[in-house]
Point group: C2
Chain length 173, copies 2
Amino acid sequence: MAAGQGSATEMTRALDAAAARCLRSGAQLTELRRQVLALVLETDQPLGAYALLDKLKAQRPGAAPPTVYRALDFLLEQGLIHKVERLNAFIGCVEAGHDHGHGHDHAHEHGHQFLICGGCGATIELSDHAVAHALADAARRVGFQLRKTTVEAEGFCAACLASGAGAAAGAPA
Amino acid sequence: MAAGQGSATEMTRALDAAAARCLRSGAQLTELRRQVLALVLETDQPLGAYALLDKLKAQRPGAAPPTVYRALDFLLEQGLIHKVERLNAFIGCVEAGHDHGHGHDHAHEHGHQFLICGGCGATIELSDHAVAHALADAARRVGFQLRKTTVEAEGFCAACLASGAGAAAGAPA
DNA sequence: TCAGGTTCGGTTACTATATAACGCAGGTGC
DNA sequence: GCACCTGCGTTATATAGTAACCGAACCTGA
């Protein structure tokens, strides 16, 4: 359960695509980085750095905080994962799987958004251009040059609303 | 310098307005909360909880982490300050000053956005409806009920771009 | 006037998140 | 060989945030 990648094969394919993408940008997806990426991808929910560290220790007993943080920094730079600021946690980038020729240049991020369900903890990644454009417009209007955007929201997902989990908090009985 | 409120008088007026607003919502702006709010307001840049704690200790020698965090939680609930997630820091809410009759209900947040300058650290608060609406639309489209949104961006402010601080990072020579 | 609640905040201890600084191993180029 | 770079192990520490317990102040109702 909680598998972001359905099968080992799929995972391998995703990791290889990531490796290829790194190479194209002159970076190297080393064994450590590949392990950390695999751990992030195999959980489709955001994973804290220390939760990740615990998992990593199974494969790499000597692992310490800098071990994971360095790998995470690399993966963030490569756009292979995202950080969910509200949770101080990391999650695979949905875009990273599809290998469109140029990758995205992490300077030309099209923007992404996270919706975090307070009921079940599910985190949904959107890639809504209207949101990205509205923010870009607002920034341009005050002469601000965007480099990286963080758009996150907390609330209730459709499933939790349907099952009434949102009712208690959203509409008091 | 770095005064969000131009004068002591202005600050007092802002604090009194905040107190009035708290009363209306059945809450109390105690001396501690008032001190913490004043410290946040007198710095127009985001302030970390521990930086705040240091300042607070001048007035309240026994202050400890829970002292500030409890006050900050209260001020956040009242909508008097915001948390900048990317910085784990707190900043006064620009809206809180103007005392429009009903306050805003912190359930009906109209949404706000922060633009954080990587050059000078300035943090600009926007209140752009287009951004808020775009996000609300995107959420509704996937059946997600928003409760609280976090929209933050890092980049370069107009002043830093003009003085060339952004050139190095934004447009390689 | 006293028991019972509530809010507020002091205090101690702790957990969680993140980074600094040092150093070494392996590759690359001269 | 020597200088340089990247990657990472290792130790220590900084920063951020909470849990739990306690007592003071203040209500309230009997």
